[in-house]
Symmetry: D3
Subunit: 335 residues, 6 copies
C-alpha cells in the first residue's frame, strides 16, 4: 500500500544520554518530524511510504533526505526550496526532571513553501494520506496547505488519517485560530489520532468531570456527531510514574464499538519522543493490512511500546519484531 | 544575597556511564567539592555565591575556576597557590554494585594554604557563610582554618551553615580528633545539615535503639541543648532499594518544631553524588529568601531529587525548574 | 587452585548503549566466550585460571590474548592457528525489546583446530577442568575434541564442571546430534550447570506439568540416576519483569540435598550477557575453596547479580566485592 | 545513465583515528566494497547507479543496503542469501607505519551465491557495467560469475569497465589461477583501470627496466594488442613521501593517444582507502557524460584527490565539488 | 584596559574531526562570533573584555553566556531578547577539500534587537570599542545599530577598531548597500583590520595589476586619504599550499610607515576558523599595552599562528604562551 | 633474554586529539613511565621484560598492572604499597604550539617505597637491567634506591643501561644535587642513552662552540674518560620543523667508533611522547640479540620513528614491523 505523508522534516539535536543541553559540547543528530516518523515506521513495516516535504539544498537538507532513503522511504516527493532546515533541540529528562524541547523551526523551507511538493500529482498514485496537527500549526502557509491537502485527498477518494499532535507553542508563534483550522482537518479525516483534549479544543466543549474513560467516551461521541466522515478515533492512555517509567494502554472508538488494550509497564525508557507517531503508524499498518480493529490497535500499542526502547524519533523495527512483542515471545537475549 | 562558600575544589574523574574505572581508557571530568557544589547551586538559584578556595596555577586549576565562572559563581575569592589540584576518581555503581570514590586530594593547594583566601576581607561583604565537614577533615591546616573561619563569621555577625559530610577516610588520613574539631564547627553553626550519626559522633552519645525517627529526634534535642547558637537541623531520609532506585524524604528540626516532607520515589537515578550539597543549597535558598521552614525544606528536597537526574556534582537548574518539580507540573516532555 | 578452561574465544562487537546495531556507525568491542568468561572471573577471584584456545595470529587474535592476560588469565595454553577470529554482534535490548545476538563464529581458528591446544599436557598440572556446551556445539571437530577432553580429564583424575549453555542456532548450523553428544559431556561431569530443559534434552524425557520447582527436582533426580559420576547440579532461577528488570534466585542439587537461595531484585540492568558464566565461576570458587555447598551457591548468586552491573562479558570483581554484596554492606557510595 | 555495479559488499571495521586495531575497545563502521564504492560515487555524481550483490538477511546486511540507499544507490538488485556479511578490519597508518587491512570476508553471502543477483535481467536495462578484480578473486563461484557477467554484458551490448584491483591474499586463499581468470575479464573490458603490473601478470610478460613511464607505455601497447575490445587503460601514478603525504597524477591510454595529468601534492591525508574506486568512478563519469578523454581523466584525478580527504571508502561529493577542485577555486573556508 | 565588543554570538555546530557534515550523527558545539572571539582572546590576554550582545533566554542562549563567562569575559552587557540563537554549521576541510560554513543565523535575537544592549551606558566605562563587518551585514537593524555604535564611540572619545570581515552571503541575504554602510564604519575607525579588497569595495576603486604588495600599499594610501580618522590598517598575508598547510605573514600600515612580519609555515593546521579574530585581538593587545607597532604586529601574528592549533573559534592562550611562540622558545614537549 | 626495568609507573591523562587540557570534559588514559615504556617495547619485541615498581592497591594501580600484563610484561615484580598513583596530564601540541606535560606524581607509591620491589631477588634471574634518570629524580628515597640498584646490578654482573631523561622540574621539586646523583648512575652504566647536555651536566663541563656534531663527540670522549665502565653512548638527533613535523637521525659512540644513521622525515606525527624510550628499547633489542652496533642503532631509530605514529607512551609493534620499516617495504596499505 502506498501511503503519502506530508509535513515538515526536522533535524533533532539532542544532548547525549541524560545530559543537560550543552552540559558537554556535543549534540547527537537524528532526523525527525511527525509525518516523517510515520513514514519511516510504515516503510519499516513493509509499506510503500512516500514523504512529501521541502528542505533546503544544503548538506543538512540532503542529509535528511538521505536518512529517509536509508530507511526505505520513497523520497520522490522531497523538494528543495529556499529557507532553513527546521531544527529542534532535545534534552532527555530523567528521574523527575522532564524532557525539554526547544523548537527552532521557524522559517523552514517547508513552512515557507509547503505547496512546492505538488501534492496533487502524488495523490493520484496514493492509497492513503497521513498528516498531523503539526503541519497546520507551523504558520499560515502551511495551515492553508494542510487544509487544501486533506480536501484534495477527499476529492480523489484517498482516505485520510489525522494525528492531532497539539503543540501550544507552535500555534502561539503566529496569529492562528487553532480550533477553526483543526476543525477543517477533523472534517476530512477518516481516522483521528487524538483524545478528548483535542476534541474539546476543536468543538469548544467541556466533557465534564467524570473519569478519564467517561470523558474520552463523551468526546468520541461528540466527534462522531460533529464529523460525519470520521470512522475511527484512536489514542494511547499513558500514566507516568516517573520520567523513565510509564504505563501505556490504548483505546480505539468506532461509531459502534470501543476497543481497549490493557496497559503495559514500560520501565527504564530509552526515548519517549516519537512514540505517538509510532502508535499512528502501528494502527495504520493494521488497518492497511485489513486486520480487525482490535488487532490493529494491539499492533499499534506494541509498536509504541517498542519505540520507547529506541533512540531517535524513528521506529525502524519490522512487523516480525512487533508481532514477537505482541505474542510475548520472551524478553531474554535472542541468540 | 551574597553567600560565601569556603573549601577545597576538586576535579572529578569518572568512568563513563556505568563502566568500571579504567575498564575503557577514558575519564569524564567535572568540577566538584562540597562547598563548590553549594555555590554553583545557589548561583543557579540566582544568589551571589562567592567561592573561596585555592588551586594550583595550572591548566587544571584554571579550568576549575573557569567552570565555576561558567555557572555564575563569583571567583574573586579564588587564589592560586603551591600544591596539587585535588582529584577524585568515581566509578558509578549499578544494580547492586555500589558507586566507589577514590580520593586523591592529599597535599592539594587548598589543603596546603587554606588561609590564602583572605577570608576576613570577604566576610565583611557577606550575608551568609557556608562550610562543610570536608574542610576540617583535610588536615591540620584546614581544620584550623575551618574553625577560625566559623569564629570569624560569628564575630562579624554572618550566619553560618555547616554540613556534617562525615568522610571517615579523610579523617583517618592524618592524626585527627574528629569529634573535638567538629564540635567547634557545630558550636558556631546556625544551621546544621546532618543526622543523628553526626551528632552522636560529636557528642559521643548513643541515641538508643528506637525507630530511626526517634533517634533523629533525640539527637536533635541533644544538639540544641549542647549548641546554643544552633537554630535548625535538616537532613534527608534515604532508603535505597537498589543502587539506581531510592526513596527520599526530608526532615528539619527547630527548637520548637519538626517539619517532614514525605518521601519521593527516585528511579533510574543518573548521579547520586552531590545530592547532599543540593539539599543544603535548596534549604539555604528557601531560608535566604525568607520562606517559612516547611517551604524551604520542600524546596530543598525537590532540588535534591532533581540533582539525581544530572551528571556531575553540580545542580545547575533554576528556581523555576525546582518550583515546577514541587508543583508536580508533570513529567511528560515539555515542548 | 589451577583451573583449565577450554573453548572458543570471541570478540563481541556491540552497538553502544541501547542503540540498535549500526544505528550509529560504531561498535564497542570486548572479548568473550563462555569458558573465557569463567576463566576471567576465576582469575579475578584469585585462582590460577589457564585458558586453552586457538586464535588467528592477527591483531584480533593477539588482542584477545592480551585482554585475557590483562585480567590475569594464564595464556600459556593459547595457540595461534589458521582460521578466523570468532565474532558475535550484540544489540542490547531495552524496555520490552529483547537483546539480540548475531553469531559470526563459523570457521574460527578454534573450531578448525580445537586439538591444537595440547590439552593433555596442561591437564597434568590442573586441579579442575571447565567446559561449556558451546564447545561441542561449534562443529564436528570441536564436538569430538570436547568429548575427548572430558574423558582425558576423568582419566587424569581432574574433576570436570560442565555448563549446558544450550544454543539452538549453533547446533543447527551443522549435522549434529546434540542429545548424543551432550550425553557424553554429562557422563564425565562432576558438576552440571543447567536446568531441567538441558536434562530433558539429553535424556529425551518430559518432566511433566508440575511447578517449575517440581520439574527441576524430577530432572535432577533423573540426571543423578543416569550419570553416576555427577555430584552437583546448579542453576539460576530467573524471572524477567522487563528487559532491564529481573528477579534472580539459585538452586543446587546434590544426591542428598537441595539448596536454594532466595531471589534478588535486579533493576536497571547494565548487561545481562555472561551472567550464566559468572554463576558457574562463582559456584566453582566456593567449591574450590572448600566452602559448604550453600555458601558456594550464595557466592555464585551474588557474583551473578554483580555481573548484571558490568558491561561486557567479563566479571572482573574481587572476592571482597562479592562478599560485600553477600553481606549486604550497603548500596550507597563507598568513599 | 544507468550503471550496474556487481560485487561483494563489506562492512569496514576501523580503529578510530590513527589508533592501532583494538588499542581502545571501539571500531568505526562504514560500508565498503570496490564496486559499491564506485556505485556510491557515481550516484553522488548524479547517475543512476544500481548495485547488484548478496548480503545476509540480518541487521548487518540490512544496514549495508540502507547505507547504499542513503547515498542514492538503486538497491533493487540487492538480494538476501545464506552466508556471512563480508568484513574487513582497518588500521590507519601514520608517519611511516603503513595502514593494514585484515580481510574477514571468506564465505560471505555474495561469495556463496554470486549468481543470486539475476544479473541478466538487470543488464537489459543498463547503459554500463562495472566490475573489479576483487570479484573473481573471492573464490571459484564468484570467479565463474564474474566471467559470465562480462560475457553477458558483451552479448547484450553493454560496455564494460574493469578495475584490476589485484589483491594477492584473496587470490591465495583458494586454488586459483589468477592470470587465466583475469585474462578473461580483460578480454571483455572496454576500459581497464590498471597499470603495467596488472598487465604483466595477465600477459605473463616483463615490461623491462626502463622508466616507470616506459613500462606503462609498453604494457599498454601489449594490452591493446592482446585484447582487441579494449579501448582505454587508465591509472593513477602515486608517489608516497610518507604514509600521510602523497603525490598523485594520472594517465590514460587509448589506441592512439596518451593523456597525462600532472601530479598534485596531497598532504595530511585523511583516508587513502577507496581512492582507486573514486578514480574509476570519476573517469567513468567523464566518459558517460561524453567528455573528451582528457577532461574525463582530469575529473577522475580530482575526484581521487578529494577522496583522500574523506573518511570511509565512499566518495559522496557532487560533480560541482569536483569541478570546483578542478578549477582551483581556492582552498580557503567557503562561507 | 576595558574593551567593549559588540556583535552577534553564535553556536558553531561542527562535524567531528575531518568528517563531512552529518556523515556520522554527531556535532561538536562551541561558541563563536567575530566580536566574541576577540573578546575571549583579549580576556585571555588579561584585559577586561566586555561583550555586548543579545541571545534568547533558552538553554542555548544561557550556554553561550556561560561559555563567555568561563573564559573570563564580562557578560554584564549580555541581554536576553526574542528571536533565535544564531547558528552556523561547519565542515572542516582537508587535503584539497575546502572547509564549508552554512550560516543559520537569520532572525537571531541580536539581529532582531541589536539596540537592546544599551551600548551608550557601557561606552562611558570603556577604553576601546571593537566591532566587525559581520555586525552591519546581518540586516537593516544591525547595520543601523553598528553605525550608531561607532558614532557614539567617537562622540564619547572611545577609540574604535573595525575588522572588515566581508561575508558576501550575509550582505546578499537582504537588500543591502554594503559599500555605503561599510564606508560609514570605516569613517569612524581608528584601526582597520582588512586588506585591499575591503578598501576596493568601499572606495569602489581598482588598485591595479601590480604585485599583491603594491595593491595593498595603494589601497592603504587611498584609505588613509579617504578616512581622516584612520590611523592604522593591519592584515595577515596568507598563502595556502593545501587546506591543512599555509604560510602566514602580516603587514601594518600607518600614515608614515609600513611594518611587515615575515611569513611563518603552518603545517597540519587544526582549525583555521577564527584566526582573523585572533589577529585583531593580538594586534589590539599590543596597542592597548603601548607596544610599538612592530611589536604589536608580531604579537598579533604569533597569536594568529597559535590559533591555528586550537579547535573552536576561541583563542584561549595567555600572553606568556604567545610570547613564548614569538621568542621561538622551542617546539618540543614542555615538561 | 630477561630484562629488568625499574621505575615509577604513571597514568597519563591526555586531552583528546589536539584539544587543550579540559577544553572538553574528557581525558584519555594510558599507562606510562620511562622504564615501563621500555619494558613494553622489549616485551613486544619478544623479550622477557620484567617490570619492578610499586603502585597503590586501588582500581588505578590494578589497572596499571593489568595494562602491563596485557602487553606481555612480567608483573611478578610489581608490588602494592601506600601512596598515590603517579599521574601526568598531557596536552598534545600542534602547528607551533608545543605539547605540555603537568606532572602530578609527587608522593607516589613508588616514590615512597622504591625499595619494596625486592630488586636483589629479581637481579639474580636477570640478563639486563634498565633504569632512567627519572627514577633518581623523584626524591631522596628513589635517588638512593636508584644508586643502590645500579650498584647491585654491577655486583651481580648484570649489565646496566641508563637513559638520562633529564627532567628539570622533577629535580627542582626537592633539595637535590642532580649532577652528583647522576654521576653515580653514569658510573655503573654499560650503555648511556643521552647526549652532550646530559654529559655536560654531570661532568660540569662546556663542550664548546663547535657544531652539534663536534659537541656530541667531545662529550662522548669526556664521558668515556670519566666512566671506565661505559661502553656505548647512543642518542637520537632531532630537528623540529614544526610541532608535527620532525627530522630524526641517530648516533652511537663506542670507545673506538662512531655510528650514525641518516635522518628520516617524520610528518604528521601522532604522538611524540615516549619516543626516547622506544629508542632505548630498540637499541637494547639489537644489542641483546647480538647484532652489530650499526644494526642495533638502525633498529633503534626505526622503532623510534614508528613510535611517532602511535598514541600513548607504549610502542607495541613487533620486530617484524620494525624490520619492515627498516627495509623500506613500502608505505602503502598492506592488505
Amino acid at each position: 500500500m502506498r501511503v503519502l505523508c506530508y509535513g515538515e522534516i526536522l533535524l533533532r539535536l539532542a544532548a547525549p544520554g541524560r545530559e543537560l543541553l550543552l552540559q558537554t559540547p556535543r549534540l547527537d543528530v537524528t532526523v525527525a518530524g511527525a509525518e516523517a516518523n510515520v513514514a519511516v515506521a510504515l516503510s519499516s513495516f513493509g509499506h510503500d511510504a512516500r514523504m512529501l516535504s521541502v528542505v533546503p539544498d544544503t548538506a543538512l537538507g540532503r542529509a535528511a533526505i538521505g536518512e529517509l532513503r536509508r530507511h526505505g522511504v520513497d523520497t520522490r516527493g522531497m523538494k528543495f526550496g529556499p529557507g532553513r532546515m527546521g531544527l529542534y533541540f532535545l534534552t532527555h529528562g530523567a528521574v523527575r526532571r522532564p524532557s525539554e524541547i526547544i523548537y527552532d523551526r521557524a522559517d523552514s523551507a517547508f513552512a515557507r513553501s509547503p505547496e512546492a511538493c505538488a501534492l496533487n500529482e502524488h495523490l493520484s498514485e496514493a492509497d492513503w494520506f497521513h498528516i498531523s496537527g503539526v503541519t497546520p500549526a507551523l504558520g499560515p502557509a502551511s495551515a492553508a496547505a494542510a487544509i487544501a491537502a486533506v480536501r484534495a485527498a477527499q476529492d480523489k477518494g484517498v482516505p485520510v488519517s489525522f494525528d492531532g499532535n497539539f503543540r501550544t507553542k507552535l500555534w502561539e508563534s503566529w496569529r492562528s485560530d487553532a480550533p477553526a483550522i483543526l476543525r477543517q482537518m477533523f472534517e476530512h479525516a477518516d481516522i483521528l489520532f487524538g483524545d478528548d483534549r483535542d476534541i474539546a479544543l476543536v468543538l469548544n466543549k467541556n466533557f465534564g468531570n467524570g473519569s478519564a474513560e467517561q470523558r474520552r467516551e463523551r468526546a468520541a461521541a461528540a466527534a462522531f456527531e460533529a464529523f460525519p466522515r470520521l470512522k475511527r478515533i484512536a489514542a494511547t492512555i499513558r500514566v507516568q510514574h516517573s520520567v523513565d517509567n510509564h504505563e501505556l494502554g490504548a483505546v480505539m472508538y468506532t461509531r459502534s464499538q470501543v476497543q481497549t488494550v490493557a496497559a503495559v509497564e514500560l520501565s527504564s525508557i530509552v526515548d519517549r519522543v516519537g512514540t505517538g507517531d509510532a502508535f499512528a503508524a502501528g494502527v495504520l499498518h493494521g488497518l492497511l493490512t485489513d486486520e480487525v480493529d482490535r488487532e490493529a490497535l494491539k499492533f499499534g500499542l506494541a509498536a509504541t511500546c517498542l519505540k520507547h526502547s529506541i533512540q531517535g524519533d524513528f521506529l525502524t523495527l519490522s512487523v516480525a519484531d512487533v508481532r514477537a512483542a505482541m505474542a510475548n515471545e520472551g524478553l531474554d537475549v535472542r541468540r
